[in-house]
Symmetry: C2
Subunit: 334 residues, 2 copies
DNA sequence: GTCACACCTGGAACCGGTTCCTTTTCTTCA
DNA sequence: TGAAGAAAAGGAACCGGTTCCAGGTGTGAC
């Protein structure tokens, strides 16, 4: 691979002039610029990014720390971040965060600071105070997608409100026997938002004075998780709820499939509502609370670039939009 | 942030000695090493990765070029690659490949060569000869997950064989009226493998002498895609097939859901088989051809590191394993 | 004619590491 | 006792860019 010195000597100019000609900064005669440009293309010259970032102090790369992408929400989020970064011509370095603290610690201790990213986006994880401190030492912009941390910018939907609205929708239809599928299992949650949604459910029941009838079923926030939980819940004819709220659409869809298999008609015998507006929601005509993780990814990048431009950034906490999408899995109880 | 010069002066040694002490290469007295180490930790020193890679010529980063991760297969693959790289202490730079050739061209022309990755993994895309040439100019190892390119290492399952085995399974059960769901739609396929699977289906029918009964339905390789295609296919009682093979498990599952909605019993009235062994396959008791994209991700990294170590690498074409997993969606036709 | 200033270019320093080469000191063995 | 060689450490070059600064033109205004 050729260097800028090769280009310079081929064009008969100095390294300095070649650099100026290619970057467009500073004075260069038009004829010289053209000569340098053609020399560069003849040599198929491409600047060495490490050299550039060493000299300029900017890596043109954003670090993204997130859980595994096998949930729809995270995959969409990643897609959103990727789209925005691509448009801005920034590169993306992706770090999956394993729960095991050994690697995670190393990530925050040395990898992230050493890489000198122009910015960092952290998703779904609550960095500890120490990790945050370590990150902020690098003096790079940081955006958190999820819970509100202190001293950082953040964007997320109001998970409590989302679950409350979903539950209220059922209550307004006349349901009082409403089960929540997707309560905490023994395992570490990969998303902080799930427990907030549970709170929203409980808040709504309390406000309606039917807390006593709350029924929370532990389940993984997945389709099989929702299926298994609903199968157990609906198997008992006597104590069957008239409505189910899923911690997320995947779980809700699992519940719908379980209900159908048991011969329970949705929505006439059982109402189901989810949260997320998953890409499969429409296929099941699922009533849900819409949110756009892809859009949140875009927002995160916007927040980050704003911080990168402004030397003393304003820290923002953005609430992403979410609204009830009524389809065809909810109706009044018989 | 502190530099190695800061560490050196604090420890009262030269930059050279500090570097040797921290990297463990070359002679350093034990006491000196300890002094340098404690100076480094007091200053919370972390080496600047751009400087290191400029000096050593190695970036400690692998570039990954892949389609959007919203399909299970790609998400799993990504997870596999991530796991392996994490264990090897390599970083991952992720590039989504948009179909629009403008960005894609820039990616191959300048981004990938400029970043000087230690290795590149390309997934699901068939790089053009020109792109490949451009990539190989960098003289970096390249592994392709997917179709066999020339002059590169590659790993993939034999998609033709997988679809053939799935189809043969149905034929052996006595089916002759077998539809394939997931034929090419108008849009550009994001995975090369899909059309190969169609070939496998056609091969099996031809071998059994029932090519005339082939029936290919165009559908996106997703659950809603399979659902819609199956709904159309099964709506007509007269020309209903007795078995369906899905281009992937998502499509097959969509077909199962459609069948259930139409009151068609699976497998007694309709056999369904998929390909992939998706994480949801078990929930639907889906008979399928198993493959482990996560494992393929591991393999790709293994191949890549082997090439990185050996100066003159042996190019390997690895066939990942795939085998029939019989569950409960296939049986003999009535 | 001179001064100011914009335009153009090259030399050299710099970013922060690694590594080659040299010098000095300390062992070890003939 | 002297030579060989291992061990320890520092100076300086180098990786490949960018940018500061100085010097050399050309133009227009006074």
């Amino acid at each position: 691979m050729s260097t800028i010195a090769d280009v310079a000597s081929r064009a008969g100019v100095s390294k300095a002039t070649a650099s100026r000609a290619l970057s467009g900064r500073g004075y260069v005669a038009e004829t010289t610029r053209a000569r340098v440009a053609s020399a560069a293309s003849e040599l198929a010259y491409v600047a060495h990014s490490s050299a550039t970032s060493l000299a300029t102090g900017r890596t043109h790369t954003v670090g993204l720390v997130m859980p595994p992408v096998n949930r729809w929400f995270f995959a969409e989020l990643l897609a959103g971040v990727q789209e925005s970064l691509l448009a801005l011509d920034y590169d993306l370095a992706l770090y999956g965060v394993p729960e095991g603290s050994a690697t995670r610690e190393r990530l925050f201790e040395s990898v992230l600071p050493g890489r000198r990213f122009d910015g960092i986006i952290a998703v779904g994880i609550q960095p500890s105070a120490h990790e945050l401190e370590r990150l902020q030492r690098t003096e790079r912009p940081l955006v958190i997608l999820g819970p509100y941390g202190e001293g950082t910018s953040a964007v997320s939907i109001d998970d409590v409100a989302a679950a409350r609205i979903a539950t209220e929708h059922l209550i307004e239809l006349g349901h009082t026997n409403i089960a929540f599928i997707g309560g905490p299992t023994g395992e570490a949650p990969e998303s902080f938002g799930d427990e907030r949604r549970l709170c929203g459910y409980q808040d709504a029941l309390a406000a309606a004075g039917i807390s006593a009838k709350a029924r929370v079923v532990a389940a993984a926030p997945t389709m099989p998780g929702g299926y298994a939980a609903a199968a157990g819940l609906l198997g008992d004819r006597r104590h069957r709820p008239t409505a189910i709220i899923g911690v997320c659409d995947e779980a809700a869809i699992g519940a719908i499939i379980a209900a159908r298999r048991l011969g329970i008609a949705v929505p006439t015998e059982l109402s189901v509502v989810g949260i997320d507006d998953h890409e499969h929601a429409e296929m099941f005509a699922l009533t849900t609370i819409g949110q756009s993780p892809r859009e949140q990814g875009h927002e995160a990048v916007r927040l980050l670039t704003k911080q990168m431009e402004q030397p003393d950034p304003i820290l923002e906490h953005l609430a992403a939009e979410s609204a009830l999408v009524v389809r065809n899995t909810t109706t009044a109880p018989r």
